[in-house]
Symmetry: C2
Subunit: 125 residues, 2 copies
DNA sequence: ACACAATTGCGAATGGTTTGCAATAGCAAA
DNA sequence: TTTGCTATTGCAAACCATTCGCAATTGTGT
């Protein structure tokens, strides 16, 4: 948290109240939240500022985005982890990376699925 | 393709021109397309009908949705396969499931990533 | 305290997706 | 074939999440 504020400063950004409130929420609420979720938690920060803050934090690599059901969910960048997402309602939960022997007490029918990413030749300059 | 039309019929849906055109496009264009992509290919079908068709085809399990960069991409359900997606531009390509020894001639920095899915206790009735 | 630039809040604009409704097309029975 | 009934379409308007423009405010360094 301290290091995050430093990262903002060292990149020439101010430490404003909207930014601190969004970061505090994300650090206390260890799950992925949508921009709207976040705004509903901190109603005294304007919607537009929430969006601007999240976009900035993503550019700086402070938050990660995950897409689920066509909406962006934000969470603090952290040690590598996976997400388990309910196919029916979208409820999600982080699980440690060593999933093989993990006991999924809150989920059944657990499956894992690959997603491949890369950079195509055209983009690879 | 014949089986798909049967599936529509057997579920009580008519075989209309919009539906046939969307299906034909998806079957000839073996990659994931957005609703807008699809509408731009078949301009004589109204936008709203394209969306309605895609939503129906998804409910019936005829097409799969993949989320990339916060947009829904549709492709025909097919034998299990992965997608390789360019992080920069979103270009995607299907690759066979046996990816370990595959030569990714069009991509570099290829990585695979896990996504876990399941059904949570609440939904599990 | 001061000054200046960055940032905010507000309201308006945007753009993709959905919806209401009257006109049309598909399908099955006559 | 023709008829009749319902599902489906096209169109325009509504919707809703996200972005933008701009004047007022805040943060920061002097
Ligand atoms: Mn996370
Ligand atoms: Mn596919
Ligand atoms: Zn690319
Ligand atoms: Zn659930």
């Amino acid at each position: 948290m301290k290091d995050i504020l430093e990262k903002l400063k060292s990149n020439g950004y101010k430490l404003t109240q909207p930014r601190e409130k969004v970061l505090e929420l994300l650090s206390h609420n260890h799950k992925a939240l949508s921009a709207q979720d976040i705004h509903s938690f901190i109603k005294d920060v304007d919607k537009a500022s929430v969006y601007r803050t999240l976009n900035l934090l993503e550019e700086l690599g402070i938050v990660n985005i995950e897409n689920f059901n066509n909406e962006k969910l934000y969470c603090l960048s952290a040690d590598p982890h996976h997400h388990i997402i309910c196919k029916k309602c979208g409820f999600s939960e982080e699980v440690p990376c060593t999933y093989e022997h993990y006991n999924f007490s809150n989920f059944s029918n657990v499956q894992h699925q690959m997603t491949l990413t890369g950079v195509c030749n055209k983009c690879n300059k």
